[in-house]
């Protein structure tokens, strides 16, 4: 039996094609995933992301606990509402999950974790918190709607009366509490917008008001192509418990400079970075997919996330490649019975509606 979000009936009534995602019945698309993708890049789209779990970390030992639990440094969060992306590592330096941590006060933080890993994450946190004066509270009473796109904030303000005054001053990667809503200027698309946590009971009303304000419902299909273009990792594809964040393009989120100890730090220091994690841009005709083999001048690698970029109108991918390989070099990818040409590129591919890709040769 799949879990259902408070918007499940609305999705069905909107003609969504539903799919099992991490044990949840979620919308894949509402007709055309490519049109939903363009709506987010050009105007405003909304995603039901209620399957993700908010976890409150409360108590006097919260900073001490999170300093040790997270690979990024929670001490970077000084202003209430400020958010931080971080991996949570195991002792071997593999990624248990990636998450966003919000700081409200030194005794109150919230972590937002992935749906498919939520139970495992809670067990891990409980285990790591033994003896600490903290409470770990899963907030299964909350839902979440992500409103993303260049017009997302303006349309949200139209849909949610009074929210403009509360949230117009929000800087990227910060949040504010407004009545029963937590409005965060965060997202997973490379566009401006909000992620709004709210009680289950208020979710259908906000969704309906957003739709009336001209925000287009978008499914997990568009969410995946948007995050791929935006150079954002997907847990389970680009990294998991067997992969170091240093081999998954996440070194920027790992704080190895502060003297603080955290779970997995000794393993990271011991192993260092053993792979390059870069983008691939298809030069031939065809579509890159997860797990395809990549052949480079320095040996083989693997695509961790591949798909079609509606903005670039060609296929793109993330790949784990041999150490020493650089962007702008070429690589070949095994697609069925052929080796197709790709160009290695930095990520992201797209940000704020604009292509960041530089072609080293002409279009195919």
């Amino acid at each position: 039996m799949l879990n259902k979000t408070p918007l499940n009936a609305i999705h069905h009534n909107s003609g969504a094609r539903m799919t099992d995602f991490g044990g949840w019945e979620m919308p894949l698309h509402y007709g055309s995933q490519i049109e939903e993708h363009h709506a987010v890049r050009r105007d405003a789209g909304m995603f039901d992301v209620s399957h993700m779990l908010g976890v409150d970390v409360l108590g006097a030992d919260a900073p001490v606990f999170l300093r040790r639990l997270l690979a990024n440094n929670i001490d970077k969060l000084k202003d209430p509402g400020k958010a931080l992306y971080s991996c949570m590592l195991n002792e071997a330096g593999g990624v248990v999950d990636d998450l966003i941590a919000y700081f409200f006060s030194p005794v109150r933080y919230r972590l937002v974790v992935n749906a498919s890993t939520a139970d495992k994450d809670l067990a891990w946190m409980e285990q790591q918190s033994a003896g600490s004066a903290i409470n770990i509270i899963p907030r299964r009473d909350l839902a979440m709607i992500a409103v993303q796109g260049p017009n997302a904030r303006a349309k949200t303000w139209r849909a949610l009366r009074g929210s403009e005054a509360a949230s117009e001053g929000l800087k990227p990667f910060s949040a504010t509490e407004f009545n029963e809503y937590l409005i965060a200027r965060t997202g997973y698309t490379g566009e401006d917008g909000f992620e709004i946590s709210l009680p289950d009971s208020a979710t259908a009303t906000l969704w309906t008001h957003l739709a009336e304000a001209g925000v287009r419902p978008a499914g997990l299909g568009a969410r995946d192509t948007l995050r791929l273009e935006a150079g954002m990792n997907l847990y389970g594809s680009d990294m998991d418990e067997s992969v170091s964040p240093l081999d998954a393009g996440l070194a920027w989120s790992v704080d190895l400079t502060s003297p603080r100890d955290f779970v997995g730090k000794p393993a990271l220091l011991r192993n260092g970075s053993r792979h390059e994690f870069l983008g691939l841009l298809m030069l031939d005709r065809g579509v890159l997919r997860n797990h395809q083999v990549v052949k480079t001048a320095l040996g083989t690698g693997e695509i961790t996330s591949g798909g079609f970029s509606p903005t670039l109108n060609r296929s793109i991918a993330f790949a784990r490649l041999p150490k020493g390989i650089h962007a702008s070099e070429q690589a070949e990818v095994a697609v069925r019975d052929k080796w197709l040409k790709t160009q290695i590129t930095p990520v992201p591919f797209v940000r704020h509606g604009k292509s960041l890709v530089r072609f080293e040769r002409n279009d195919p």
Binding site: S32, Q33, I34, G286, V287, F308
Partner: protein, 129 residues
Amino acid sequence: MSIPADLKYSKSHEWARLEADATVSVGITEHAQELLGDMVFIEPPDVGRKLAAGEECGVVESVKAASDIYAPIGGEVVAVNREVIEAPAKINDEPYASWIFKLKPANVAELNNLLDAAAYQAVVDAEDH
């Protein structure tokens, strides 16, 4: 769900239409395009290739997945539809107007081995349950 009565169908979701010039056009059904989602890439068989009935002969790729195309009947490939190959979304919009390739049948009677609209409807219904 549209399943035109004047076409023949395969269990692997291709449709086949006998044209006035005695060639057979081949495409994928509305049901197939709906399962796959937005089409982004088509790899048709080469013109001149001789295919046996049921032979794997091309690929359609959507945002979601790649799916093989099989020859519904045997014959020689005499044309591929450049217009659809350049704009694969046409398959989503008009699956039965968007033929992918045309065959000169080796034996036109092989069309009788394919499903008619009612039998194909039964295949689709069985998949949905």
